[in-house]
């Protein structure tokens, strides 16, 4: 018995070596997403979208004659873990390029590691302005920074007749950055800024903040957080009899999940989003959008996840395009190639423009932003 047990490590070692040998035939892309913790729902959707892209690319013969292999790690919605996971992906899995890390605070925690190991990363979701303005030349972002969201929103504030707004935002770089950028835009427009309330990312009870907002003299509340907390906010706002107009930002609302979980409490809420899976024909790339949605449904995933998962899909396609352009799976070559790629994303063309201090600019693509409204449990598009 003892002898038989002694064999186990040897067998495991052999298996590990075999796996290593097999992996050399593929090109790895590191995926650093929150699969547990406060952002588990969103991170899981992004990863599922990433897998669709990898399978599609591999079915067409892969990149540089090799198959793509996603090395997926869970950053637990925790910045410390996100940095540790990035280090593990780069040093131990030897990935030449990463995608991640969903949240702004998570991405910001990863960024020093990218400089340390000189490895580029596609940022698929994060919206804090800081990410592309602090001078990290390894960052290539395909999601809109909150200033771009604010600018897109600017066109509709007159139509909505906004007079004074309150903010309820998640207490991290994402939420605070959004409150800052939207306040700036609104002040320029002569709109009053009332309360700026925050909530912890794991908080489940926002009644205190909502009670305060209920008694303020604003008519609109801008809410920034991910889908699970949004669901709670809509339910609790309804329970408190809060009658103000609610507009959410950040593109992580998954409106169908909100409709399913918050029910009537979601009616009348408006959402700034970056993808229109409900109206594929109105997207910049209808053919690809239809393919993606049918593939998503074929795999049995919930339709609600589409608004989040398309970013994983676009992110992996962006990384693969850069590898192809670079001609080799090496970090420096891929980093240089990001500047030369142009591909049709599900939400507009993906091509990087320089952003941040000269000499060490980050790449920023300019995606579209849309405003939708939930009405009688249905999603309606508003023109911006």
């Amino acid at each position: 018995m003892t002898r038989a047990l002694g064999l186990v490590p040897a067998v495991a070692l052999a298996a590990a070596l075999f796996a290593g040998a097999a992996a050399a035939q593929t090109i790895k892309i590191g995926v650093n997403e929150p699969l547990t913790g406060a952002f588990a729902a969103s991170g899981t959707y992004v990863v599922n979208g990433a897998k669709i892209a990898a399978d599609e690319i591999n079915a067409k013969g892969g990149v540089l004659g090799k198959k793509i292999e996603l090395v997926i790690e869970d950053n637990k919605s925790n910045p410390t873990e996100a940095a540790a996971v990035a280090e593990k992906l780069i040093t131990s899995d030897k990935v030449p390029v990463l995608m991640g890390a969903w949240g702004s605070s998570l991405t910001l925690a990863v960024m020093p590691k990218l400089i340390e190991y000189e490895t580029p990363m596609v940022v698929e979701t994060s919206s804090s302005g800081k990410i592309t303005t602090t001078g990290n030349p390894f960052i290539f972002r395909i999601s809109p920074p909150s200033a771009v969201e604010a600018a897109a929103f600017k066109g509709i504030v007159d139509k909505l007749a906004l007079k004074k707004v309150d903010f309820l935002v998640i207490n991290n770089d994402w939420g605070r950055g959004t409150a800052e950028d939207f306040s700036k835009m609104m002040k320029d427009k002569g709109i009053g800024i009332g309360l700026v309330e925050t909530m912890d990312q794991g908080a489940q009870d926002m009644s205190a903040q909502l009670s305060k907002i209920k008694s303020s003299d604003s008519e609109t509340v801008i809410v920034t957080t991910a889908v699970d907390q949004l669901t709670l906010i809509f339910k609790q706002a309804a329970a408190l009899g809060l009658k103000k107009r609610i507009i959410t930002t950040g593109g992580s609302q998954n409106p169908d999940q909100i409709i399913a979980q918050a029910g009537a409490a979601a009616n009348g809420t408006m959402h700034l989003t970056t993808f229109l899976p409900w109206f594929p024909d109105k997207t910049p790339n209808p053919e690809a959008t239809n393919y993606f949605i049918s593939e998503w449904k074929k795999r049995g995933f919930e339709f609600a996840g589409c608004t989040e998962s398309f970013r994983g899909y676009d992110g992996i396609r962006t990384a693969a395009a850069a590898i192809e352009k670079a001609g080799k799976a090496e970090p420096a070559a891929i980093k240089a190639a990001f500047w030369d790629i142009k591909l049709k994303g599900l939400n507009g063309d993906i091509m990087f423009r320089k952003s941040g201090p000269e000499g060490k600019e980050s790449g920023q693509s300019q995606p579209n932003v849309y405003l939708i409204e939930i009405n009688e449990g249905k999603v309606e598009m508003k023109t911006l």
Binding site: T36, A40, M199, Q204, S211, D228, L232, L240
Partner: protein, 290 residues
């Protein structure tokens, strides 16, 4: 003024659930002296049982509540029998490490079975809230408050007015003497842990439908439960109830009038103050040492 009234109503509904979390833990941590890190997981477990019974078995919401309480009781009894009984008499650090292990294993188990995406439970209560002048509150929260009050009362009577309760108190004061007086000490250990666990599961079953259900939901709940128990004094049921309401009041008023960014810090500021000025908790009875 209307805002203040709304904060007070919020405090009442929140405090009721905090009290429920607190009394379950005060039985185990306060009376049994086990630093129970599985309290949060049992809370999560109760919520998932609710989800399974209502959505996967299709049973009635009100029927699901006792099922969750019973399931929590059974899981608690199982933990006591398999993990705590072999460790009885070993030092508090060993037990604590084992309980941390159990917490991580069970939380990972929940993640493995149900995944990280949050679930929500449909309730039979109307979505429109009850409006009383400037104040409004959801029917579900009122029901939760009533159910919590009921469970707190039952637990109080059980500990202070029944033979079982007397046997429990005797056992954890001095189990040798209790055993000499004819108390089945093994049974008392198991049932105390099971009762504490079923209260945690009950809190999860009541609050799961109010919030959303996910594997880590119990972590914050457990931290608050420990805070409440320390605030109220170890093993003191009345103290845990009042502690729950004090924590809720601090959070509501802190978020409402100081800063919502520090909402969760408010409670802990009070705890630090209590530990400095009255380290045995606000309502602790004097205790014989040694």
């Amino acid at each position: 003024m209307s805002e203040f009234l709304q904060h007070l109503v919020n405090m009442l509904v929140l405090g009721g659930t905090y009290a429920l979390l607190g009394i379950g833990l005060t039985l185990i941590f306060g009376i049994m002296n086990v630093v129970n890190f599985t309290h949060g997981v049992l809370y999560t477990f109760g919520a998932y049982i609710m989800f399974i019974v209502v959505h996967q078995l299709g049973l009635n919401f009100f029927l699901a509540l006792p099922v969750a309480v019973l399931a929590g009781w059974l899981l608690g009894a199982a933990i006591e029998l398999t993990l705590l009984r072999p460790l009885r008499g070993s030092d508090i650090d060993t037990t604590m490490l084992v309980m941390i292990g159990a917490w991580i294993a069970m939380q990972s188990g929940a993640l493995w079975i149900w995944g990280g995406v949050a679930k929500s439970v449909a309730t039979p209560f109307p979505e429109a809230p009850l409006v009383l002048g400037p104040v409004s509150v959801s029917w579900l929260r009122l029901f939760v408050l009533a159910a919590a009050a009921f469970l707190i009362l039952v637990t109080y009577l059980l500990i202070n007015r029944t033979r079982l309760g007397r046997a429990m108190r005797a056992t954890f004061q001095d189990d040798d003497t209790a055993s000499l007086m004819g108390v089945n000490v093994d049974l008392i250990y198991t049932s105390t842990f099971a009762i504490g666990s079923s209260l945690a599961a009950a809190a999860g079953a009541l609050l799961g439908p109010v919030y959303v259900i996910f594997p880590q939901m119990g972590d914050l709940a457990a931290v608050k439960a420990f805070a409440i128990v320390i605030l109220g004094g170890l093993g003191n049921i009345t103290g845990a109830v009042i502690g729950g309401f004090i924590l809720a009041l601090a959070e509501e008023l802190g978020a409402g009038y100081v800063s919502s960014g520090y909402r969760d810090a408010m409670g802990f500021v009070i705890i630090i103050a209590v530990l400095i000025f009255k380290p045995t908790g606000l309502f602790a009875r004097s205790e014989r040492v040694g």
